[in-house]
Amino acid sequence: MTTQLVVDKPGVLASIQDLGRFGYRRFGVPQSGVLQPDFAKIANVLAGNPEDTAVIEFLLTGPTFHLANGSLRLAIAGDCYVKLTRHGDRRMFRAWRSINLQAGDFLEIGNVLSGKAGYIAISGGFDLVPVMGSHATYLRAGFGGLDGNPLRAGTILPLKSKSATKGSNFFLPTPPLAELPSSHQESIDRFGPATIHVILGPQDDYFTEKALRDFFHGVYTVTRESDRMGSRLEGPVLTHRPDMSSEIISDGMVPGAIQVPGNGAPIVMLADGPTVGGYPKIATVISTDLPKLAVMTPGSMITFEEVTLEEAEARLQATKERLTALLATITPLPQISEPF
């Protein structure tokens, strides 16, 4: 019998993503892929998949599903609760674990409580044809994942695995919650705005001394106009030097680059961000801090702090080691913790 996982409610902009599409920036194709790669890897390892398997990324509100046929195992990573309904009995538990579904089960993923991204990995992965080498959905151009579409009510997910994995489920005993930003005023009052580390440039010489001072001393707020393309910030206006243009000859961009158009409001490029751009980039967020910024909800506050390339590379190495150590803590779930 075919396993049929059906989407009942799609949540907010849930889409299939992997670790990104590489090698096509020359055609203007952004890398896309998950905003929070470490969480996607955790979900995959919990589900028994290779770390780079395609997953469902959901933002703010999780999707709900029912399993029409067969059985399957999936895993959820993110700061949210999950409700499972079986034969009319409903159980609620934290994410950061795998779960076996039987035919007739209903699964509801709740709101993301800190940050905005959560991930669902299905054991065995999705049965999809990669586009330009990747399963990442690029919504703007309509390709990748489910033919370039987000999850919709009624979508039947194309699955590779035909049945649930045997044996214990797995869980992550110490979820990486402290690294998640929160938009709650209370948390900002207590801890202050989150610090985002940057490397200066490539076009910091296009800005006035005052703009550079304001950039590092001011507080910036993530606005509602932020999406997978970029995080638009509100805060001190950054003025371009009067003897320089507020535009450059359009030049290469990468996720993390902070473009400042003529209005002086910085935009941090994210996974779906354009491959080139014509506004000067005052600084670039370091690789390890980009996921933190990418999953911030509107209203979150940040300050920028400069680091050297050496420090950024050391943080990259340390973060990689921390994830390896964290993944190694994933353990079988005691039978007593099973919801049914």
Binding site: Y24, M132, R140, Q203, I249, S250, D251, T284
Partner: protein, 248 residues
């Protein structure tokens, strides 16, 4: 200007060959990019991920934990010495239809007023001109073309539009382009082209390539709608818009 390196975060490096728009700079960028890709294909550059060739620079994306920045820089300078910047390329020529009107080009009148021209003169200056595709980027298949007639040079809008319609033909500075997708954008809009510029399922996904020559043909809104329908039902043969090849 001397060749220089700029850091874009910890995992990208820009090699800038100049600070202006110039065919000879772009062909050096293209040659360096090709050399770098063949190095990658031979497995000579572990940690190199991909490069983005632009008008006058090459952005190199790499994993600094595998490929140290200093080694990458040295390698790029050696490759730059080696490239032959005089080689001839065969490029394709295109005649692309554009419906210029204030409905499809909401900035047409603004451009005319700012430049002391009539809308008809703006259309004439924009369409009666051969452009070079300097790079593809920003969005899938977005062709950056130049050089625009100096009488039409306009800055980008200081407040970019949240939504620019698909097919919009736009100008900014010395550049002109067609938006292949609906997207945010800061360029000034003067018309619309009905042709699809990108197909994710082709091995060469973009209609235009770096180096191609493009001219525009002003069409009526009836003809525009006819072509939009032909694109939709798949009956449009794109090669009819290609007018030939030249050796550049």
């Amino acid at each position: 200007m001397r060749v220089r390196f700029l850091n874009m975060g910890d995992s990208a490096l820009i090699l800038e060959l100049g600070d202006h728009i110039d065919h000879s700079l772009t062909s050096r960028v293209v040659a360096l990019d090709q050399t770098l890709r063949s190095e990658q294909a031979k497995g000579h550059l572990p940690g190199f991920i991909e490069a983005v060739p632009t008008y006058r620079s090459l952005t190199v994306i790499f994993n600094p934990l595998i490929l140290p920045r200093a080694i990458l820089k040295t390698r790029l300078l050696v490759l730059l010495e080696e490239i032959d910047n005089a080689r001839d390329q065969t490029v394709r020529c295109w005649l692309l239809p554009v419906c210029y009107s204030s409905e499809y080009g909401p900035d047409l009148e603004t451009i005319a007023a700012a430049k002391g021209l009539t809308a008809e003169e703006v259309i004439c200056l924009h369409s009666n001109h051969s452009y070079t595709v300097y790079m593809i980027g920003f969005l899938p298949g977005f062709p950056y073309m130049g050089n625009l007639d100096p009488a039409l040079h306009m800055p980008r809008r200081s407040q970019p539009r949240i939504r620019v319609p698909v097919g919009s033909v736009a100008i900014a500075g010395a550049q002109t382009a067609i938006y292949p997708w609906e997207s945010p954008g800061g360029w000034q809009l003067l018309g619309r082209c009905p042709l699809p510029l990108f197909n994710a399922h082709r091995s060469q996904p973009t209609l235009l390539a770096q180096g191609d020559r493009v001219q525009f043909e002003s069409i009526s809104s009836d003809h525009f709608r006819f072509l939009v329908d032909a694109v939709q039902d798949g009956s449009l043969d794109m090669t009819r818009f290609q007018t030939g090849e030249v050796t550049a």
